[in-house]
């Protein structure tokens, strides 16, 4: 059994990760801070139920996703979008016309990728409808296993995989749009 006195020591280590996730989930700082505070309060109260030696970060993230879904999703200002345009097989890689013509050198691709900014990645994620954004964030930013994500979101693992597939493609499309806007590609043509 875990003791509440040790809670601050152990649980605060994960606060930056929870904060970053909350920012992408709620899409505004005030709600993100309220959400993180709520998560820590629930975690603190429930800490005696946490089994020492098991994955504390996953446990905290489970509380985060649960709290977000039950409390904050209803408050979101933007209407819930359930459609994600079909971007089947739309690889950023294949859609860079300059790269298709030129030699596909690793440094050229890496150059384009490295120029993608924090703001663009965060905006691209936030543009994803929630049911895609959450799995993509949990998998690709935090590295949780599909099984863990399925448990956190209370959905079947098959649903995690299909939402990840569509969400990742949606993210790629959005980042591709940002890259076009930045004229990173047109300067080649």
């Amino acid at each position: 059994m875990a003791d509440q006195a040790t809670f601050a020591d152990q649980a605060m280590d994960h606060m930056p990760a929870l904060y970053a996730a909350a920012m992408r989930m709620t899409r505004n700082r005030a709600d993100a801070e309220d959400l993180v505070q709520e998560v820590y309060l629930r975690a603190y109260r429930g800490f005696s139920g946490f089994e020492q030696g098991t994955n504390l970060k996953a446990w905290l993230f489970r509380i985060l996703t649960n709290t977000f879904i039950n409390t904050y999703r209803a408050k979101q200002r933007r209407p819930q979008e359930s459609d994600l345009e079909d971007v089947e097989d739309l690889f950023l890689y294949h859609r860079l016309p300059a790269l298709e013509q030129a030699t596909r050198s690793r440094s050229t691709e890496a150059d384009v990728l490295e120029r993608i900014t924090d703001a663009e990645v965060k905006a691209a994620l936030e543009d994803l409808p929630e049911q895609f954004r959450l799995p993509v964030y949990l998998a690709d930013v935090e590295g949780f296993a599909y099984k863990e994500i399925a448990e956190m979101l209370d959905i079947p693992i098959g649903t995690v995989m299909s939402r990840l597939h569509r969400g990742r493609k949606g993210l790629e499309k959005r980042l591709h749009d940002f890259v076009i806007d930045q004229h990173l590609i047109t300067q080649e043509t």
Binding site: A20, V36, Q37, V121, L125, Y146
Partner: protein
């Protein structure tokens, strides 16, 4: 790219995440070794994933951290 490639491309993301069963992972790895376009696609996906992960860092305001610590302290049973 052949039809095999199209089927396998769907699996690359799961492979990169370590989610393919050992036999599927081995089959995909061996395809990537022999198929430069698929290899480059996989390599690109891996790089993109790394970029996305690295660009999501948030600085936590000190004021919030202090407020949270205070809040938890106040929540302790007396």
């Amino acid at each position: 790219m052949g039809d095999d490639c199209n089927d396998l491309l769907r699996e690359i993301a799961h492979f990169l995440h370590g989610e393919l069963p050992a036999d599927r992972a081995a089959a995909l790895r061996s395809h990537l070794d022999g198929c430069p376009p698929c290899f480059e696609s996989a390599d690109f996906q891996a790089q993109l994933k790394a970029v996305v992960a690295s660009r999501c860092i948030e600085h936590v305001p000190d004021e919030f951290k202090e407020r949270l610590m205070g809040f938890l302290r106040d929540s302790q049973p007396s």
